[in-house]
Structure formats: C-alpha cells, structure tokens
C-alpha cells in the first residue's frame, strides 16, 4: 500500500529567493523509501532513497533518517546497479555530510589569492559578486567563460551544458582522473561501439582479468563485486574460474584462482598471445573474425609473448585453452592496463578476446546497453545527460594553455575531482588558473583547487539535493532520482539551482535555455512532477521498471587489429630501475575520501596500512636495495620527487614500485593534510593521459613519520587451513 506522506519541511537559504524571486519553495514533500505505519512515533527512523556521490559508479542508496538527521547509509535493495550493497566509500559519505570542515556558507576571498583566507558573506552578496562579472563578460566576450567540473550526469549536466551554450562559450571541460578513454576507443575499434560494455560476470564460467580493479575501484565496484560473488557461488554446479594478469597482487588479483604476474605495460600483449593460441588451435567461436586476424596474430606466438611479458608460454597456452573451452567467458581490462601510455592498445587486445570468444550480446558475456536511450527525447542534447565516461585530458590541457594565455576572464569550478591535486604538477594547472581574473568555485570543502577561488559557493551533498543520474554500467536503463533526504545541514545551494537563477538574471538566451524556477522544477517537468510517476519513483529511488535500454550485441564485423605504438615510459632504466605503478586507493579513490576519518582508519586491504601512503615493493627487490619494511624512501622520477614508507608486497613484480593515489593533500583539511606526499607529482605531462607513465628510483631516507599497519593481531595462521 503506497500513499504519500508529507514529511520534512525543508528550510534552507531564503536569501537567494529574495534576490531571484521565488526560485525555491520553502515546502517540499519527501517520499520515504518504506512507508511508515500511521502511528509513527517521533524518534522512529525512516528510510529515504537517493544516489551515492562518492565515485562515478552511481550506486543507489537508502538513508536512515531519525529526527531530521541522517544516521546511516545502506544500499538501495531495488537499485539495479548495487542491489542493496555498498562499498566502504559509499557508507562514509555520512561523514562528508556532517564534516566539521564542510563549507557552511558563501565566502569571498579576504587575503591574497590562494591564501585560503575567506570572509563569510550572505548569498545575496555572493550572487551579486558572481553576476557582476558574468554580465560584463557576457556583453563583451562570452567565450572567455570557462566551466571546469567533474563529469556531470543527468539534468545537472543538461543545465550546465545549456547554460554555457546560451551564454556563448564552448569552454566546458569535465575532468575525471580515472576516465575510461582507453577502454572507449578500444571498444570502438573492436566492437564498433564507443561505450563501456556490461560484463555479465554472474553468468560467466571463466573470467580473465588484465590488471583488473573491478572489485575495488574500477567502473562500478559494487555492481561487479556482487556479480563476482554470484559467479563464484550462486550456481549449483558451476563455479566461475578467475585468472588475473597484472604487475601487482592487488585486492582484485587476490581474489583470483590464478594470479600470473606480467611486466607492467604488457597486458595487451598477453591478451594477444592468448588470442594467438585460440586462433592457431581453432578454439574460437567467431571463426570469421579468427580468419581475418590470423595473419596479424601470427606475430604473437606464446614464446615471443613470454619474452615480452614474463608470462610463461605454457601458462598462456593453458589459459587460452581453458578460456575457449569454458564459455561463456569474459576478458576484462582494468585501470592499470587502461592508463598505460598505450592503454587503448592493451584494452583493444583484451576486447579482442571477447570478440574471438563470440560472447558479445550473450548471457555471461559482454553487451552494450544503449545508455543514451533513457534520454533519447532530448535528441542531440542526450549526450549532456549521459556523457561518455572520458577523462577529458585533452580538453583539460587545452584549457590550461588557454588560461595561461589569458583567454579566460571567469572560471567556474565544481566537483570532487580536484585538478590541482590530480593532474601532473608539470602541467602547471594552478599557475595557469591563477591567470584567470575571477574564479568562482562550487564546493563542499576547500581543497587544493577550490582554495584558489575568489568566491566560494557552498553546495549541498548528494544527501541534501534534488537530482537524477544514469549510472555508467549496471543501470539496465534505470534513471536514479535523488531527493534531499535530510534537512540541508548548511546554508547551501546546488550548482544547477544557481545556474538557473543566474540565467534568469542574465535574461535573453540563457533565460530561455533554462526556463525553470529551480532545479527541482526542471526535474518535475522532466519526470512528470508531483502526484505523477515521479512520486513513486522518488520513493523507490528511481525509475527501475522493465529495462528500457536494448541490449545490443556488439557488431564484430569490422574488428580492427590493435596496433601497439612505441611509447616507452619515462626514465632511463639505469637511473630509474623500477616501473611506477599508480592505482586508485581502495579507500580514498582519487583522493576525495582523504578527509573522511572512517576511510583513513580503514586498513588498506592489501597492505593493512592506515592514515598514510606507502610504496609497495617486492621483498627481494627491497633486500637488494637494503630496504626494510617501513623504511622511509625518496621516490624519484624524471618529473618529480616524493617521500613515502616502504611496505612489502610479496606478489608484486620485482621491477615495479606501486603507490596508491589519494594521499598527499596539503589543503584539504586536517584529516587529509600531511599524510604523506602526492604520487601524482611523479607523473610527466604527457600528450595522452597515463598513470603508468614513468620509471622511478628509490633511495633510503630518514622520515619523521612511521607507517602504521594493522595485519592480524591473532597471529599468523597457516593459510592452508583457509583454502
């Protein structure tokens, strides 16, 4: 039995309404996830559905609310992406909501630029500070407005896109340090579709991972972790087998039945070696594809692949045969493979295995659900609502050049991807940004990027705002809706709300392009408004009806053979003996989680380290360098130098040094600052975006800090008892 219930009366900033004239109504109806009994007593908790904003996976959440305060976040059991499950980062979002350092009101710069000293101001003042330069620039040189955000999905993307177009500037840049560029172009080459596939792990019998991180960070970690669990244990007679290739024994690699270490940056070659055996021994289902590729693949016999990758020829042949005989099987590339200098080649090699196995469009294989279909009614604007998950690196470099050249008069910043922290410092992002005369930042926290702004506009968290979303994978065509599940804790305004109001003030084209009174009204119009479909959808957390996106088998007719380009990584192997392997932190992701104490104190799955970053090396390599567990070292690359503590990983290739990204903040508050140095600083400013782009050397250095780990206080067990 479903019925509406008027619940929280949301207050919030009324100042804005005064200036812009009723853009926000004071009273709203929130729709609880589970309809409470009529005799609900005060103090009883209700659950409200929304979406997780801690990474781009877009998991559905339900929030337990008691007396207007959020108490706990859990996965939304109805949501197709995560079915009730949630990762550690998603649960910690609660700490962002109630963070002591969260920005509670608008601020203007009171000290010098970049000093981080601000004075609190009212929303009226903040908005007039924004409108004065905006109006001037629109009249004089509209193209000198830059908007730099994290990738925005759903109607927030539509609002931002339309605003910039109507304003007259095409400089809208979205930055994601773990963008899937390489996977997108590989899929375009192999499957003819420039998108991310859906990997149906749950029904697969065999899983090949190439530096895969699908269980920890990756594209949609909760979605794939759940599917992985089902692959292992949900079928009566089948247990899917999992083989992992990669330079490091990661959390995902640890789950594999067989971990076969390979030289960093050779994942695609291993895949081509497997493809070679499949074609040579006529093990493929897609014989037409096999026939066409036979010539190209002849260059990759297992013996040659062994020399390049370090994976034994007999292992390659055995895996190829098992993979072919245990269909449906899936080959999946991970961030480590995709962010090499030749990532597109590696991902294409992996995608080729899926094409050869003929698993496209089949249960237990890969398919390409049409994401844009959910927003097809927007025609060419649909791409604003469902953008491809790209890094935006090229546009970012271009924007940096233009900023440095003085092309921009206003920069509007927003989002958690923090370019001043996540771009190689040699790109000199911060220096270029400082050339922009006026910088306004929408933010919940001051960080390395937002602390350079002249005007800081505090935004609600995902638990306090209206919005919609379409996840990159696992969505089954479902659109997620979010609502303010708690009374907004601070005097905040969402970016779309401010843009809509600003457009109204500007009049003319912008006002026409964003014709709503508020972002809520925009969503109401899009989804049928109060009283309609939208209410039921808000209660459930979105539109999760029958799949509205068609599953398309990929077209495999025009498979282009992946060509490796010679892009050696930076650094002479003599001076820099170890390849640097950078990976997203399981707890802190790209660094955005570093200010949340729960995540800092959650032991890292592989090293069990807390509160600090480290460099992982093989114990034998360390012995050769005279390094012991916990020693301080200086990590030097041709582009930069940082310090860290050594920790051993017995499953890492001997010529590799691995570091998690995410620590090393200097301006992200007291929880995040001073927990080691930022490994992004070691990266060169390459033409294409790459994390596995340089070699390093390690030299012992005395550090005042210690690396704290939390392994197993009960003492070491015999592992054979557990397996």
């Amino acid at each position: 039995m479903l019925h509406r219930r008027q619940f929280l009366k949301l207050g919030g900033a009324t100042a804005f309404a005064t200036l812009f004239g009723g853009c926000d109504k004071m009273q709203r109806t929130l729709i609880p996830f589970v309809i409470p009994p009529e005799n609900t007593t005060l103090g009883e908790a209700l659950w409200y559905a929304s979406v997780c904003g801690q990474c781009p996976a877009g998991c559905g959440i339900v929030v337990r609310v008691s007396e207007g305060r959020a108490k706990k976040i859990e996965g939304n059991p109805r949501h197709p992406v995560n079915r009730g499950r949630l990762c550690a980062r998603g649960q910690a979002a609660l700490q962002a909501l109630y963070h002591p350092e969260r920005l509670s009101r608008p601020m203007k710069l009171s000290g010098t630029r970049g000093s981080g000293t601000y004075a609190p101001i009212s929303w009226e003042e903040a908005l007039s500070l924004l409108m004065v330069p905006l109006k001037k620039v629109q009249a004089e040189a509209p193209a000198s407005l830059l908007m730099l955000t994290e990738p925005m999905r759903g109607h927030a993307g539509l609002v931002a896109g339309r605003f910039m177009k109507a304003f007259g500037s095409k400089h809208r840049v979205a930055w994601d340090p773990f963008g899937a560029d390489a996977m997108l172009s590989a899929n375009a080459a192999i499957h003819g579709i420039r998108d991310l596939p859906e990997h149906d792990l749950a029904n697969a019998r065999y899983l090949l991972s190439f530096s895969g991180d699908f269980l920890e960070t990756g594209i949609s970690p909760v979605h794939y972790a759940r599917a992985y669990g089902r692959m292992r244990g949900d079928r009566e007679t089948i247990r899917g087998k999992f083989v992992h290739f990669g330079p490091r024994l990661s959390m995902t690699a640890a789950a594999a039945d067989l971990f076969l270490p390979c030289t960093p940056g050779t994942e695609g070659i291993v895949a081509l070696g497997i493809a070679h055996v499949m074609v040579r021994d006529r093990l493929t289902a897609a014989s037409a594809v096999a026939g066409r590729l036979a010539d190209d693949l002849s260059a990759y016999p297992p013996e040659a692949v062994e020399r390049l990758t370090g994976v034994h020829a007999h292992d390659i042949a055995a895996v190829a045969e098992e993979f072919a005989r245990n269909q449906p099987g899936i080959a999946i590339p991970g961030t480590g493979a995709a962010t090499g200098p030749d990532g597109a080649f590696h991902c294409a090699g992996v995608a080729l295995l899926n094409a050869l196995a003929g698993n496209a469009g089949k249960p237990g294989g890969v398919s390409f659900p049409n994401r844009a279909l959910a927003f097809a009614r927007y025609g060419s604007e649909a791409a604003l609502l469902a953008p491809a998950p790209e890094s935006g690196y090229a546009a970012m470099r271009d924007a940096i050049d233009k900023m440095r050249g003085g092309a921009f008069r206003i920069a509007i910043l927003s989002g958690a991807t923090n370019p001043a922290f996540t771009l190689p410092p040699s790109l000199k992002f911060s220096e270029a940004l400082s050339k922009v005369p006026f910088i306004a930042a929408f933010a919940s926290f001051l960080d390395e990027t937002t602390s350079q702004a002249d005007l800081v506009l505090p935004v609600p968290t995902a638990l306090e705002a209206w919005g919609d979303d379409l996840a990159p994978v696992g969505h089954s065509g479902a659109v997620t809706l979010c609502q303010p599940v708690v009374v907004p804790f601070h005097d905040t305004r969402s970016m779309p709300d401010v843009l809509i109001a600003a457009a109204g003030e500007l009049g003319g084209k912008p006002a026409k392009a964003l014709p709503w009174g508020s972002f809520k009204e925009c969503l109401d119009k899009a989804y049928g408004g109060p009283g309609g479909q939208m209410e039921i959808a808000l209660q459930r957390g979105g539109f999760f009806g029958e799949s509205s996106s068609q599953r398309s088998g990929a077209r495999t007719g025009t498979v282009a053979f992946p060509k490796g380009t010679e892009r050696p990584i930076d650094g002479d192997p003599k001076a820099f003996p170890l390849a640097l392997h950078l990976y997203p932190s399981v707890t802190l992701y790209d660094g955005r989680g570093a200010n949340l104490p729960w995540l800092q104190e959650m032991p890292d799955p592989v090293t069990t380290a807390v509160w600090r970053n480290w460099v992982e090396v093989n114990p034998k390599t360390a012995a050769g360098l005279g390094l012991s567990e916990g020693d301080g070292v200086t990590v030097t690359s041709p582009s930069g130098k940082i310090t860290a503590h050594v920790t051993f990983n017995p499953g890492i290739a001997p010529d590799v040094a691995a570091m998690p990204l995410g620590q090393g903040h200097t301006r992200y508050g007291k929880t995040a600052n001073g927990r080691g140095e930022n490994p992004f600083a070691l990266l060169p400013a390459g033409e294409t975006y790459a994390l596995q782009a340089t070699r390093v050397s390690l030299t012992k250095t005395k550090l005042p800090t210690r690396l704290v780990r939390f392994a197993h206080p009960e003492g070491q067990w015999k592992i054979s008892n557990l397996m």
Binding site: A225, G233, P713
Partner: protein, 232 residues
Amino acid sequence: MEIKWAMAIDLDRCTGCGACVVACVAENNIPVVGEAEVEKGRLMQWIRVARYWEGEYPEAQAVYLPVPCMQCERAPCETVCPVYATYHNEDGLNAMVYNRCVGTRYCANNCPYSVRVFNWFDHVWEKPLDEQLSPDLTTRSRGVMEKCTFCIQRIRRAKETAAEEGREIRDGEAVPACVQTCPPGALLFGNVADPHSEIARKLKDPRRFRLMEHLGTEPRVVYLKRQKGAGR
C-alpha cells in the same frame, strides 16, 4: 520458535574490500582513534579483515579472513568476568552490559580471537560529526570493554516489527550491518534453529570450518573455505 543466531563467512566470495568494516563503524557508533593509537594496537573496529600472505613471487597469494566476534557457545571470555558484564543472552549471543564493566580486561585477555577492544579514553566526536550517532545504542565511556554484538539493535528492531505484526521473524529479516552490505555476498546471517533458513542450508556445506576449533569454544561464526578450480 527457538532462536540460535549464526553467521557464515564464505571465504570463496570475500574479496577483502572492507565494506563490512565501515558498515560496522557506522552502525555501532565506533570511534576513530587516529594513527598513533592504531600503532599501539588500540583500533576500535569490531570486525577486522585479516590478510594473510603465503608463498613467494611469482606464486604469492593473499587470503582474507573477516573476523568479527565468534559469539562462542562456550565463551572463554564470559567465565573470567568478575562482575558478569559479559553474559549469554536468550538468543545464545555473547552480550555485554557496558555499565557493569569495571575494566579488568580479563575477557579480552582470554579471547583467543582478539576481537575485544577496550576504551582507553572517552572518545569524542568532533561536532557536528556526532549528528550521525545512532540513537539505538550508546557510545561507550573510558574503561569499558566492547566488541561485536551481531548488531543486537538490528535484531531487536526486526523482532519488534515481527511482534507488532503478530508473526514469527522471517529468514533474512534480521541482519547485522556487515552482512547487509557485503558486496559479493560473502556474509550470511540467520537462525540455525530454523531448518528452512538459508543459513541452515549453507552450514551443511562440506567446506565449513571454525576458527581454532580445537579450543572447544564452539563459535557461532562458521567459515567456508576457499575453493580451487572451476566447477564444484
């Protein structure tokens, strides 16, 4: 119906992700202690995901072992408490009465699984982080021992709902926070006294074993070994 709660931990599904750890911290008002205290072994988390290495490169392996309180049927911690602060409750759970605890720490000393944690301080939640604190349970003060309760408040909530609706508690209705969130579904919780429950079926799996079984503690947490190879 008789109730005997039990948990199954399938090591073949656990990926070591730590979602259970943060879920537990969020559910049970567990304080953050900071780097220096963790170094002294004073991490307050009630469930840990132990990671074991074995073998050398290139054959090195890692195995994860989530360790909550085992809720032993014959609990060595209970017998040593001079003030009966830790006792066996009506569902067979090993429960704590915080305000009886006098802080001898005998129980922690006698727990072979090292799952008990002690409040060396009155922990503070910097405002407004305290807004998140669950109203269903207290925060514990200095000198008090604490540990995993199988989220007894969630069990109570489920029991109350069932009682209000005049029915027996359903299988899967009461789950601890860690079980609720575990992404690959490695954790399972239920009433083993109910022969139709999922857990009763799961515990027939020949892969089952219990930690330090030879001690005779009869843990209510049962592990299922990792498997090798494809197929079953």
